[in-house]
Subunit: 439 residues, 4 copies
């Protein structure tokens, strides 16, 4: 291949506790993805954490003896100049905002979750404008770079970027690779012998095919409904006859929709017992940063696995490697629909299998579309598009419509005061909503 | 026009308390719709009521001095021979079944309603096979006749007939004509000067345009949200800012979706106070039949208007008249989608404006499709199609999927025992579900 | 109805020989379409003809004793102020340009016709920019007016207006009403008892249903293939077994596609014998204008019927009357596809049955789509869209692509010099193509 | 991988002169595609050629020292039992029929070609029933086998198989791999560094993207229009400004459409000079079989390359290898549309890039769809579907409609006698057309 210069990668939200995973990935795959300039960027408020994580990253690279330079900065525009790949893993409003996302809805009798339901909408309203600003910088400073967006709600954020900027962006989540990892351990085969087909949206997918060496394993997986789970979603057993007649494996996030009552009861109970998931994560992160400070530490600590974002790094490095090398392998990503799901708009962002080429991921037609899932996918996508439009415009009416049409919102009459409370509490992060009023 | 013979009309469920409305309609419009043979058909269990209503019908016709023969029978096949129009207004399991539809879901903490939610599904499971039997008879005995299906859930029943028989059928509901009547009284103009555009499904529509002599009245109607209501749906005021940002007038049935919590609380309270709606209706019907018995009575009694099916007769006679005379006027009907709503299957039954020609109603493209409504329409249609498939096949798994994907069902874990209870209690009317087990 | 003021109608190309037909229509239907201000507009070069026709129009109105004022002007903008309806019936480059459209292609061995094939493209390239200028004036001077576009190629011109301006426009052709007239005379019934369904594009439609009082007459019409014809298309008998297996009645313009060789031979022979159709028309028009000059003449002369545009006036007045009165009757018009033909873009202009409401025509879904016709419709529409894009941009490459993809063009190698000759000869009317070069 | 048994491959039309190419491919790729049982099947009339080619195949295998058994048979059903892969490369009516396909249309002034135009239709009418018989045998004898259909017209034959049988089939052509080979030699890079995107139908495709290591080469290829060519299509230079404004590289078969006049003149001239292409091929084949008889020959002779089907073997072995090994690489194949081209039916067969998985090829959404090509693709597909329906039903009316709607047929009046002559001359191979008449 003609390209010989090394690659410049920018990690926005570089002070995240996840960063060591990513560093490990870059080190392990350096032969196929020769990053030479690695920039960790964070906002001034996060500089302290950036310093701690960044120094660990530098120690990890040093130990690897690879020609990678790690740069730490709070000047995003400086970092972006001439970048080849930009990853985004940020949290507008930090964990404090997440605590509010998880608690306010609960007070109105509705699911309080970081990416799903009213909490997810608030996160979207805060986050989309920030990501659009980053995209605008990229249009100017590195127009050919790929953005890999990990920032949640990843599907909505990616759709906003794809439809409101001109950069090249892909949304990515660790949930699909988690399914692969579960299957590799269940069947004791390497990932490349597995064929799994996903359909749906981010945090709202169904697995409709599982094959090992071409042979279907779906029926036996449905019969044995234990399924896979995730750290940040309570472990609930699926109803066996429901799963069998569904004929597909739902992601654990679908428990918020299929088992709303139970999940809500669990949230109320566990937040009383141990605080919200955000508070649990906050304690975990504090512990992690204590570990990261250790000047002897030069590798990813084991404890990071408890954190919930398992395989993020692997998913990210796989995608960058395939984009760079034109590998044309199949990965499950968040991309423009382009007619794959014929009941959704062509520019809606969906989560499906893609072939990753140098020109970007090409979504694959789905071979199985569970009829039962169509309505729910469309209902959530309808909410998502209304919420994206609200985030971009700062229009309260659109935000109210988004809530009113979310399947987990049980009363428009309650949605309105809940919205007002959420907007008020997030005021500092919602200039598009509040700008007009201050005039 | 060449046709000179009079028309044969068959009313299945002729013993219904609504029948006098229909008779009144046939009498008033006899010049344009010259019915000569009118058959009222009911099942043997309904013969007593058929007799009472039928005799009233005969007195009404006699008084009109029109050349109409009214025949009463419990032999459906005899009645159908050579019919031109067949209307269906029946209730499998009578009001007793409706009481169960309205009470069982309430015990599981979900909306209990005759046509919407789990109760509506039970009604569909009981009703669809009976209507398919009628359609089969029609294929044989009057293959060119039109069926006007009033039987609820009218959209689902009509979709089942259109996709599982070869007869010509249209679904019809009094809710759209109710909107027109509300507008005629509000603006004091005749119906023909009003243009209202409907989009959605039966009992799940939005009015997206209202024009008087071409001038839009929508904004002022949205600002004044009082809206219209129906006897069988509790009167709730819509949230004003919700209605304004929605930009369309939702049918009162949409309160079950947009105000689920409030409607559920109201159901619990009112069923404790006065019994379910079914029980209220039962009392009203008993009173009506007492009136009907009066041998002096030869017209529709005023009290019928309390019953809830206002304008049914007018809607039905309008449709028959237009089909017969190739009138090509616009009516809101339940017909095959055929691409009008591009996100739904072509063979889904939808409720939209149609031009009524002699060859049948042709659905009109919608000029406004509220983005916010798409997901909910698709979610409910997904449930409907699963429930229709369950009704046709007697497959419990499909019925469970239908419930699991209904927006008003809040837990699959609760849906399963609720389904079992509902199936068990309706056993006598569900041969397709229970036949296999008896073998 | 509240509206009491009379209507202002502007006829652009008012000096056309067709105008007396239109005047007759306004007079006959004045009770339902109360025009009070009628402006006939033409370009300065056409002032002489405008004077002759206009004075005949004034005599016709005077004789009618109706309160209509006829105004003649060459100041289009003055005429358009506050107009309610604008009709366009103009010919950029006059009959001289049509002669070139009909003769240049013949020299390259291809069909030379005013609206079909390379000649039609040249007409489109000359005409579209002029109509867009009129539309621009209307946006400013009468934004709520309806434009009824008769100007050929009517489908392409209308598509250009609909997609490149904000005015309300409908394309209209006398060919569909001609089918109705043929059927009324064949079956001796009034038009309102006929139901004919059209599908396709302007000058490229198929009639797929013909019903009298609801009864199908299609099979007998196909068996008797004589069909209807038009003054400006040579009379050729259709091949009987072709028409029967086609199962639809093709418009006479389809002979250019289905009988290309014979039509081409006929054009070569008849243009040698009597000149092109344009030259024949020119002689007819000269005769008509001689008649129009007669100060005793105060009605449409019989000879006008030879001209070829039979029923234009009736079609136009019908459409204006229905738009004005919200009649909601069915007319065959050129409107936006909006999904009616699912294989064409939503914004393509098609010719189909529409319900005419006060808000405009609503296209009706087609009940029969002949599979055999799809490819030809799409091929011609592809050409049309390329040609429209060429007309708007002045891009020679697009014009070459349009020709290369026209089904009647048999060689790209010949298309290129033919295009160059046509552009050169129409230079005076193609500022968008030649502007850049003069700089 | 668990599978250890060798593979059984059946070559139907094994007596073809192409077979040595295929044998060479199986030998070269035996490590990745371990065929052990290779059956060459032909009809009794072809037994002599089967013997000659088969013995050469056996000598080639022997020389390779691989564990492959080559079996020769005229008993197709015996060969198919338990097959893993079946390839079809047959010619119903032999080269004599092809001579008729190429000469009859010429006499009516139309293109005479083996796969394109009226000749291609006749080939389809003869061939489709035979392939459906093979598919029926496969349903019974090897239901899990893959059929690789090379038999022309490959797109139409494959569509017929996919829609009228239950086997797994892919259509394959050497034309796309020919483009890759041309690019490898032009840019001196291996195939895997090239990314080319194809869109269209078999023998009617456009190349819309060419990238080497991700960098676009399309513009420079369009500027240098020499293009690639094929042995069986005369070499004509494309018109330079046409190719540039088209923005895609058309297959050489598109010259029949874009340069109809020139191609027709060339056919008339060359068939007078050297006979039809069929006759040229016949002479070539006779020479090849003379060579094949040489008992010393144990490899593919060089002269085979003149024959016209270059890279057939490579394309076939690539596809079988990828299906067998779940390689998930991109190949250009003829498969069900499934919404990829949204203007064609979902079950139409199209030629596009696919990812080849063990479950079969998955077509990739096209990233560029040239607007100019849509109409022609749809026109040819319309013809193809009518012709397939005619082949399956034996309906002369459908065959006439197919011709009438083929872009290369210039007169329905000529199409009818041409059809009659072609049917009559192919009577022996058209039982579905003539069966009814003999009763």
């Amino acid at each position: 291949m003609a390209e010989t210069k090394g690659l410049k990668v920018v990690v926005i939200g570089g002070g995240s506790s996840y960063t060591p995973e990513l560093i490990e990935g870059f080190i392990m795959h350096h032969d196929r993805f020769p990053v030479t300039d690695l920039w960790l960027v964070d906002i001034p408020e996060g500089e302290h954490k950036l310093r701690i994580v960044g120094q660990l990253a530098q120690r990890m690279v040093e130990k690897s003896q690879l020609p990678i330079t790690v740069r730490l900065t709070t000047n995003r525009r400086e970092a972006l100049v001439g970048a080849d790949f930009v990853t985004t893993q940020l949290r507008v409003g930090l964990l404090e905002a997440r605590i509010r996302d998880e608690t306010i809805p609960l007070r109105y009798g509705m699911i309080g979750q970081e990416t799903t339901g009213p909490g997810g909408m608030m996160k979207a309203l805060r986050t989309i404008p920030v990501l659009l600003d980053i995209a605008k910088d990229m249009e100017e400073l590195c127009p050919d770079a790929w953005m890999l967006n990990f920032t949640n709600p990843a599907g909505m954020v990616t759709e906003a970027i794809l439809n409101h900027s001109n950069i090249r962006a892909v949304g990515i989540c660790n949930s699909p690779i988690g399914v692969y990892k579960w299957l590799t351990s269940l069947y004791e085969v390497p990932m490349e012998r597995i064929y799994a087909e996903f359909v749906g949206l981010n945090h709202l997918h169904w697995v409709t095919q599982v094959r090992i060496d071409g042979e279907s394993k779906l029926e036996e997986l449905l019969a044995n409904r234990d399924g896979y789970s995730a750290k940040n979603v309570p472990q609930y057993e699926w109803n066996a006859s429901f799963i069998r007649s569904l004929g597909a494996i739902p992601t654990y996030y679908l428990k918020y929709f299929y088992l709303t009552e139970e999940m809500l009861a669990d949230q109320i109970e566990s937040s009383a017992r141990e605080g919200t998931r955000a508070e649990v994560v906050k304690r975990l992160e504090d512990e992690l940063f204590e570990l990261y400070k250790d000047p002897e530490l030069a590798e990813k600590p084991k404890q990071l696995e408890k954190r919930g974002g398992a395989y993020y790094s692997e998913a990210a490095v796989n995608l960058m490697t395939s984009l760079y090398n034109d590998t044309r392998d199949i990965q499950t990503l968040n991309v423009r629909n382009q007619g794959i799901l014929d009941f959704l708009p062509a520019d809606a962002c969906i989560e499906v299998n893609c072939v990753v080429t140098k020109q970007g991921p090409i979504p694959l037609p789905v071979s199985v579309m569970p009829e039962a899932a169509k309505g729910l996918i469309h209902a959530v996508k309808t909410y998502e598009r209304l919420a994206i439009a609200a985030a971009v415009s700062g229009d309260r009416g659109l935000a109210l419509q988004a809530l009113a049409h979310h399947p987990l919102v049980t009363s428009v009459n309650k949605a309105e005061p809940m919205l007002d409370e959420m907007l008020e509490q997030n005021k500092a992060f919602l200039p598009r909503f509040f700008a007009a009023q201050t005039v």
